[in-house]
Every structure is written in structure tokens, then in C-alpha cells.
């Protein structure tokens, strides 16, 4: 059973009155939903709140989902709208610090290997680079690289035109590359990881 078919199966169960089937929908999509909310808002607590609110909204409006688009497109549109509304309402800004405030040496601990420390360092550096973008660009980058969504799907989720998405991706990539290259000193040995 592919993902979209099984989504439909659980949606029908929920609509027929079996509320508990909604747990399967949450379980299948929670990581992607949380990840998108986190990348847009920038902190775990708010991301959890946004992700929960989004699922509650999905539950409330599940009846209006007719299957004309993929369930994930519909779901991400709700997460995107909820996240953008949240950051605007709470005036969550863009990171203003110019230099990345950490060093790969900070991540070297006695109980983890050098490569694992480097991965941890890069994870935080990537999060930092994303936080330097504006909220819409963060969402576009996340959907493109983490969710592997096409430009058409991103366009349908965000309501931003295809050409604008291409331009925004190009600019965001350039900005991120600068930060990532500037702060990466060590090459990772992938065979060891």
C-alpha cells in the first residue's frame, strides 16, 4: 500500500467515526510536520505547539479534504500557514548575529568520535544557516531538501509563484553556501560514519 492510499484509508476511518485512527495519520507524518515547523520558527517549544495545532486543524477540517491533491500537500499547506501566522503574530525574527557562535572543537567530547562531533557541529551550523533566511525561504528550503517536494508542490503549498520559488531558492542557496563554507573546516570521512 503506498503512502497516499493508506492516508486515504485512515482518513475514511476517522470520518466514519473512529477518532483513534487519526493517531496513525499523526504517527506517519509527525516528523516531517515537526521538522517543517521547527525550520520555520527556529525553536523546539514553538515548533511542537505549531505541529500540534496543525494536526488539530487537520482533524477539524478533514471532511473538506476531497483528495484532489496529495494528502501531504494539503497537510503541509496547513503547517505552512499555521507556522507563518505564528511567527508573524509572535514577531519571531531572523537571526541577526553575523558570525556563527561556535567552533567544531566545542563539539569534541570524550565519549563521541571526532566524526560524530563534526556531524553534530554541522547539524547546528545547518540550522544556523537556515535561521539566517526569512521565514518563507526557510519553508521553501525545508520542503525542497528535506521533503523532496517539486517546485509545483511548493508553489501549491505556499501560494508563491513557480518563478518566484526558483529565484528564492537560488538566493537562499547562495546565502547558505556562504555560511556553510565559511564555517566548515574539516572534511568528513563518510566511510567511518
Amino acid at each position: 500500500m503506498d503512502t497516499s492510499n493508506s492516508d486515504r484509508y485512515y482518513i475514511d476511518l476517522v470520518l466514519s467515526g473512529k477518532k483513534e485512527a487519526f493517531a496513525s495519520i499523526v504517527e506517519r507524518h509527525k516528523d516531517n510536520v515537526f521538522n517543517l515547523a521547527l525550520k520555520i520558527c527556529g525553536n523546539n517549544e514553538d515548533a511542537e505547539e505549531i505541529a500540534q495545532d496543525s494536526f488539530v486543524k487537520v482533524f477539524r477540517s478533514l471532511r473538506s479534504f476531497k483528495g484532489n491533491s496529495r494528502f501531504t500537500t494539503w497537510l503541509y499547506r496547513i503547517v505552512y500557514n499555521t507556522s507563518i501566522t505564528f511567527v508573524r503574530k509572535n514577531k519571531l525574527g531572523i537571526l541577526r548575529i553575523d558570525d556563527f557562535p561556535a567552533d567544531s572543537a566545542d563539539f569534541l567530547r570524550s565519549n563521541i568520535s571526532e566524526d560524530e562531533a563534526e556531524i553534530e557541529y554541522r547539524r547546528i551550523l545547518l540550522a544556523y544557516a537556515i535561521q539566517k533566511l526569512d521565514h518563507e525561504d526557510r519553508a521553501i528550503i525545508t520542503m525542497h531538501y528535506y521533503q523532496d517536494l517539486s517546485h509545483t508542490e511548493i508553489c501549491s503549498i505556499t501560494g508563491i509563484s513557480r518563478s518566484n520559488i526558483k529565484v528564492r531558492l537560488f538566493r537562499a542557496r547562495k546565502k547558505m553556501k556562504e555560511i556553510l563554507e565559511k564555517n566548515t573546516v574539516k572534511e568528513i570521512n563518510y566511510e567511518k560514519v
Binding site: 499523526v26 509527525k30 515537526f34 500540534q52 494536526f55 488539530v56 482533524f59 477539524r60 499547506r77
Partner: protein, 137 residues
């Protein structure tokens, strides 16, 4: 070979992976869902609106049934005369009968709005197979 921007970001994303939802996330969502009412045709914004209209209506009814004629109070008569600036009997318009008369209009209008909201939700739920509008809940 020089890496492109795309390659660099892809490499970072592949290496670090996505963030995972915190533990107990599904349980928290489900406990919120269990508190949701079975019917969902009046959404929270409209529910609040209906409540406000009902409160205003109740307030007016209480006001109309307890307030005596404004003309019984000399200070109100003087005040009304001064405000109107005409020295006429403007205060007579503020009798309890007039308020009751006006509140009957408020009643009809709010009943009409409530009926419209319910009818609108009924249509959107059972009859209209229109375009989906996610995120507008």
C-alpha cells in the same frame, strides 16, 4: 572539483538528517483531539461571534426590562437637553418601550445571522463539493 551550492546543502542535509518530533507527541495530539466536540460545523471564530451576539442581545433584554423611562430622572433630562442642544424632549426617545422596540430588531437581525451561519455550514458540509480550502479552519 568545486561543489555547487545545491551539492553543499544536499550533503549537509543528508549527513545530519531531519529533526524528529519529541517523544509523546502523538499522545499529546490525540488527547487534544479527544476533547474536540463531535460536531465541527460552527468553527471557533464563528462560535465566538454567535456568543457575542447572544450576550449583546441578553444584555439589551435585561436593560430594556429593568430600565425605567429616562424622563423619570431629572439629571438625565437636563443632560439630554444639553446634548441635543434643541431643548426639545429628546429624552422621550429613550423610554423602555423604545429600547424594547429597538431590541426586537436586534433579535431579528441576530437570529437571521445565526440562521445564515448554520445554513452556510450545513451547505459546505453536505451539499457543496467545491474546491478544498485547507488552512482556513
Amino acid at each position: 572539483m568545486k561543489k555547487s551550492e545545491n551539492d553543499i546543502i544536499k550533503e549537509f542535509v543528508d549527513l545530519t538528517g531531519p529533526e524528529e518530533a519529541p517523544s509523546g507527541f502523538t499522545g499529546n495530539v490525540m488527547s487534544r483531539i479527544k476533547m474536540e466536540k463531535e460536531y465541527t460545523y460552527v468553527n471557533p471564530i464563528k462560535r465566538k461571534f454567535v456568543l457575542v451576539v447572544a450576550l449583546i442581545f441578553t444584555g439589551l433584554i435585561i436593560l430594556a426590562s429593568t430600565l425605567p423611562s429616562a424622563s423619570e430622572y431629572s439629571w438625565m433630562t437636563i443632560m439630554m437637553d444639553k446634548i441635543s442642544g434643541f431643548g426639545t424632549g429628546m429624552h422621550e426617545y429613550f423610554s423602555s418601550q423604545k429600547i424594547l422596540y429597538l431590541s426586537s430588531y436586534v433579535f431579528y437581525i441576530s437570529a437571521g445571522i445565526i440562521a445564515f451561519v448554520l445554513f452556510d455550514r450545513f451547505l459546505s458540509r453536505f451539499l457543496i463539493q467545491g474546491k478544498e480550502s485547507p488552512g482556513r479552519v
